[in-house]
Structures are given as structure tokens and as C-alpha cells.
């Protein structure tokens, strides 16, 4: 009741639309509501004002003298209505700094000019606390449209600001942590690079010396050596070459891991043809029947994809050595809308018992005396395929050939016989 009274008291007659409509039977208060009389209208407005406890609603005149002060205003600014209504100026709701800078006056001028001002202000409570408020300031006008004062609706957003600043702080901390982790990763990567570099340089050098001087020993002092001694020297040189190849292949494996993909649409047929041409040249005495089907165009790094075919097809050539003719087939089918490429041979195959060793580094399923190799080739192939988001798997049977399948960029449904890891042939 006190609210209704206060409002009725403080709004001068002739200033408010519902007061003027008092004479009508069913006065219209504003669009969409009908009240039956002044008393009801005042009650209506009073209810709105008093139930808006989260919003401070303040009315003043053009000089700033406070005329209206709701419950929300009391909660926000800390003054009881009787302390301020008719007595205080609304500029006291601003911080002294803003008052000195003339901000309350500027806001009122802007509201008059633009019809409304919205923004945040630095508010001041009765106890001296400062806070941030979001404010809508609108001019009040009389029946003739002449401005008579302002309506100031404000809400404390200090908590929101605090939350926002905490989120900002958390984000900054997060960014800092990410930066730190990135720096650590970069350092680790650098270390790894330095390591591979010194593997390349430092491990190869002594091998070169062993091979060089044993070769000179053979050439310049061969006649002084017994047949047995000469065989030892040959064995030394074979081992050196094997180790040299191992180092080179290992370096290549780490290089594949570090290399960034240079993805472009690539026709697999032309890649395969290049590789097959090289293999034909390198194996002129072999009887190999090449069956190259139509292969898809896929998005991949062509240089790396060529390495995949070099490794798979050289393997096929190697492991069909006892066959005449060797039959090597490269084809593609579709599985779940993704192309699956396969390389099939009629070579010595492998037992499915050891299929999980196939793609592991240094894993070999054959004696070095039968089939040379370093045990890094299929590990490199798998790394390249995985880098492309694809998967590779193999099927084989001892003495019945082998088939390697791979997909590129399909993370979804796995193939019939997926292998998570594996070894070498």
C-alpha cells in the first residue's frame, strides 16, 4: 500500500497518461492492458514497481531530484525511499569520479537527444561500495511531449562482471598452459630432431670408415689374405651395408612422422605406374605379371603415397622371388563408401598367426638369408597411412601369397579384419 501511495503522491497530476484517463470508464493504461479506474491503475503500476526487486527503478525530474524509488532501488543503492524521495539528487548514485567528470549530466543529455541511453555506469551504494550497473535511462514526458524528467532502470551486474573476469582469467591461464605445453613439445621435438640428425651423421660416419678401409684392405692387401680372411672381410662389409640401410630406413621412418602432409587430389594409377616402371627396370630378369586395375583419385600426400606403393610393391616383388611367373595385382574396391586399395601377390605369404607382428619396427617373419630387409618398410607404410587418417591390414597364408589393404581418411567402420598394430614380413 505504501508503494501505491508513494507513487500517487509523487507523480504530479497531468504528467502521467493513466491519471488523465481517470475520466474514462475503462481507461487504457498502455497497449495491451485495460484497467477500470485510477485506483486500479495505480495499484497495477505499484505492483510492477514493487515486485521488480532485481531491478532498481528510479524516477527523477529534469534537475535530477528523485521522485520515485522502488524496492529494487532500495536493495541496490541501500537507501530507504524516505531518505531520498524528494530530497536527494540522482547524481549521488554515481561515483564521485564520474560526477566530477560530469557523467550523470552527459547521460541525461544523451537520453534526451536519442530518446534513450543504455550502458554501464559505476554505481555507488549508501555504504560507499562501488559496483557496476547496467542502466537504461529514458526521458519522461508530459502530455504535450515536453520532457519532465527521467526513468532510470538499473541492475547490478558486478557478479556477471566478476564471473566474466574469472572466465577471462581462466582462459588466460589456459592459454598460458597451452603455450607452455606447446613450448615443451617443441623443445622435445627439437631434441628428437637433433637426435635423428646426429644418428644420420654420427652413426653413418664410422660405418663408412669400416666399409672404406675393409674395401681398401681387400683391394690393396687381398693377395696377402687367406681365403678365410677374405671371407671375413666380405662378411664385415655385408653387415656394414645392412646397418647403413637400417639407419637410413629408421631415419626415413622418423622423417615421415615429422613431415607435414601436403594433401592434393592424386590419381593412384599414375603413382603406381611410376613405381612399377622402376621395379621392372630394377628386376630385368624376373618374370612378373602386373595386373593394375583402375584405381581411384584420392586426397593424399603424393610423395608419401608413392612411398606406400614403393614399399608394398617392392615387398611383393621380393616375396614372389620363388614364383615364375610372379603375379602382382593392385586394385580397389569400395567398402562403406570409402575406397579400399589392395596389393595382392602370389608369393611366399605368411602365417596369420604372426599377422600382428607385420607392421612393427624391426619385426621380420623371414630369415635375412632368404629375404633381405630391415624390418622398417611396413612400419613406415603404416605410419604414412595413419597420418592420412586411414588404416592398413593384411591377409595371408603360408606359401599362398599375401594381400595388403588400406583406406585413406575413413575413421568410421573398420574393415573386416582390422589390425591395430603389427609387424613385418
Amino acid at each position: 500500500m505504501s508503494g501505491a501511495n508513494r507513487i500517487a503522491q509523487r507523480i504530479p497530476r497531468g504528467e502521467s497518461s493513466f491519471v488523465e484517463s481517470e475520466v474514462e470508464k475503462k481507461p487504457k493504461l498502455f497497449d495491451g492492458s485495460i484497467v477500470s479506474g485510477l485506483r486500479e491503475a495505480v495499484q497495477f503500476i505499484s505492483n510492477i514497481l514493487e515486485s521488480s526487486t532485481e531491478y532498481s527503478i528510479i524516477g527523477n525530474d529534469l534537475e535530477g531530484t528523485i521522485l520515485l524509488w522502488n524496492e529494487g532501488a532500495r536493495r541496490l543503492y541501500g537507501y530507504a525511499p524516505e531518505e531520498v524521495v524528494g530530497k536527494a539528487n540522482s547524481s549521488m548514485l554515481h561515483t564521485p569520479e564520474d560526477v566530477r567528470a560530469g557523467k550523470p549530466q552527459q547521460l541525461m543529455e544523451m537520453a534526451l537527444r536519442e530518446g534513450k541511453w543504455e550502458g554501464t555506469i559505476n554505481g555507488l551504494r549508501k555504504n560507499g561500495d562501488k559496483f557496476t550497473a547496467r542502466v537504461v535511462l529514458t526521458p519522461r514526458r508530459d502530455a504535450a511531449g515536453k520532457p519532465v524528467g527521467f526513468l532510470l532502470i538499473s541492475k547490478d551486474i558486478s557478479d556477471e562482471m566478476q564471473a566474466e573476469s574469472e572466465i577471462r582469467k581462466l582462459n588466460e591461464e589456459l592459454e598460458q598452459r597451452v603455450a607452455q605445453r606447446t613450448a615443451e613439445l617443441e623443445a622435445a621435438n627439437k631434441e628428437l630432431e637433433a637426435f635423428t640428425y646426429s644418428v644420420a651423421h654420427d652413426l653413418r660416419a664410422p660405418l663408412r670408415h669400416v666399409d672404406g678401409f675393409s674395401k681398401l684392405l681387400q683391394e690393396e692387401h687381398g693377395q696377402e689374405l687367406s681365403a678365410g680372411a677374405q671371407e671375413y672381410v666380405s662378411t664385415i662389409r655385408e653387415s656394414v651395408l645392412q646397418m647403413g640401410a637400417l639407419i637410413d630406413h629408421l631415419l626415413n621412418l622418423t622423417r615421415v612422422g615429422r613431415k607435414e602432409l601436403n594433401v592434393q587430389v592424386t590419381g593412384l594409377n599414375s603413382l603406381v605406374e611410376e613405381v612399377v616402371a622402376d621395379l621392372r627396370r630394377a628386376n630385368p630378369n624376373r618374370d612378373i605379371e602386373w595386373k593394375i586395375q583402375t584405381l581411384p583419385f584420392i586426397e593424399c600426400d603424393p610423395a608419401l603415397m608413392k612411398q606406400v606403393f614403393v614399399n608394398l610393391l617392392s615387398n611383393a616383388v621380393k616375396f614372389t622371388r620363388p614364383r615364375s611367373p610372379a603375379v602382382i595385382e593392385v586394385g580397389a574396391c569400395r567398402e562403406d563408401h570409402h575406397p579400399v586399395v589392395y596389393v595382392r601377390d602370389n608369393g611366399v605369404g605368411f602365417s596369420m598367426k604372426y599377422v600382428d607382428k607385420l607392421f612393427g619396427v624391426f619385426q621380420r617373419l623371414h630369415r635375412a638369408e632368404d629375404f633381405e630387409g630391415t624390418g622398417v618398410g611396413l612400419a613406415t607404410v603404416q605410419r604414412i597411412i595413419r597420418k592420412h587418417g586411414g588404416r592398413i591390414w593384411a591377409e595371408g597364408e603360408l606359401d599362398q601369397g599375401a594381400t595388403f589393404h588400406f583406406t585413406i581418411g575413413s575413421h568410421d567402420k573398420g574393415p573386416v579384419n582390422p589390425l591395430s598394430s603389427g609387424g613385418n614380413r
Partner: protein, 152 residues
């Protein structure tokens, strides 16, 4: 021979590598006069005719520099950078002969103006073959830069 007509400057810190390289060059009778220096600083002293090479003149530049990349004191890339940015040494053919096939070394060497880049093969036969080809090309096939090319 520090003041005469040095044909090849071999910059190599490994005595064993130097021995194998010299063996290959001599076997092919490609160079009579080869100077071996063991670090980048000595290489720069040689090319810039200073230090223990102050008796040399810029008119007697070698026909070929074989440069290892991983060197004590001043590394090979730095030697390359300095030699290729000095007008008095810029025209000297420099061939990098290194164990590294790292892309960054290749890129940096070519950016700095290297004349050729060879990775030392582990297998001596291939190594000897590479040295032979290299010597043949730069000392026999190639027309060396005339003296006026070394004037600033």
C-alpha cells in the same frame, strides 16, 4: 703446400674421412695438390688468405672446395655463407660433402649458393664413385672461373 696452386680444398674434421676422400681422388689422379683443413675457421682463413694462409693471394683460389657441414668451431653452413657473400671468394665452386640428407641442410645450402650437394654414401664403392664423378666434373669438364671473377 700452402702458397702454391692448390686445386682442391678439403674441409673435413674426420681424419678417416679425409683419408678415404684423398685416396679416391688420388686413385683417379684427379688432383695433384689438395689442402686439407680440419675446421671451419681454418677453411675461412684459407679462403680469405689470412692466419697461417696469409702467404696466399686471392688470385690463387682453389678450383674446388669440398665442404663438410658438421665442423668444429665454425660449421659448414657458416663457411658457405661467408664465402658466398664475399666477392673475392664468391666464384669459387663449393660442393657440400656431408653425411646429412636433412631437408633443412639441403635448403639452407642451396639458398646460400652451394654449387652441388653430395651425401656421403656409406658404401665405399659408391663413395669413391661419387668423388670420381665430382672430381671429373669440376676439375676436367667444368671451365673454372677466371681470375677476374675473384676481384671485388
Amino acid at each position: 703446400m700452402t702458397t702454391g696452386d692448390v686445386e682442391i680444398l678439403l674441409v673435413e674434421d674426420s681424419a678417416k674421412d679425409a683419408k678415404l676422400t684423398l685416396h679416391a681422388l688420388r686413385q683417379e689422379k684427379l688432383a695433384n695438390s689438395i689442402e686439407v683443413v680440419e675446421d671451419g675457421e681454418e677453411a675461412l682463413d684459407f679462403l680469405s688468405c689470412r692466419g697461417r694462409f696469409s702467404g696466399r693471394t686471392f688470385k690463387q683460389q682453389p678450383r674446388l672446395v669440398l665442404l663438410d657441414l658438421k665442423l668444429p668451431k665454425v660449421d659448414g653452413l657458416e663457411v658457405l655463407r661467408i664465402a658466398k657473400s664475399d666477392p673475392r671468394t664468391k666464384a669459387i665452386p663449393i660442393v657440400v660433402l656431408t653425411a646429412s640428407k636433412e631437408e633443412k641442410d639441403l635448403v639452407e645450402s642451396y639458398r646460400l649458393g652451394v654449387n652441388a650437394y653430395i651425401q656421403k654414401p656409406v658404401e665405399f664403392e659408391s663413395f669413391r664413385h661419387a668423388i670420381k664423378q665430382l672430381g671429373l666434373f669440376w676439375l676436367v669438364v667444368n671451365q673454372p672461373p677466371p681470375n677476374s671473377a675473384f676481384q671485388p
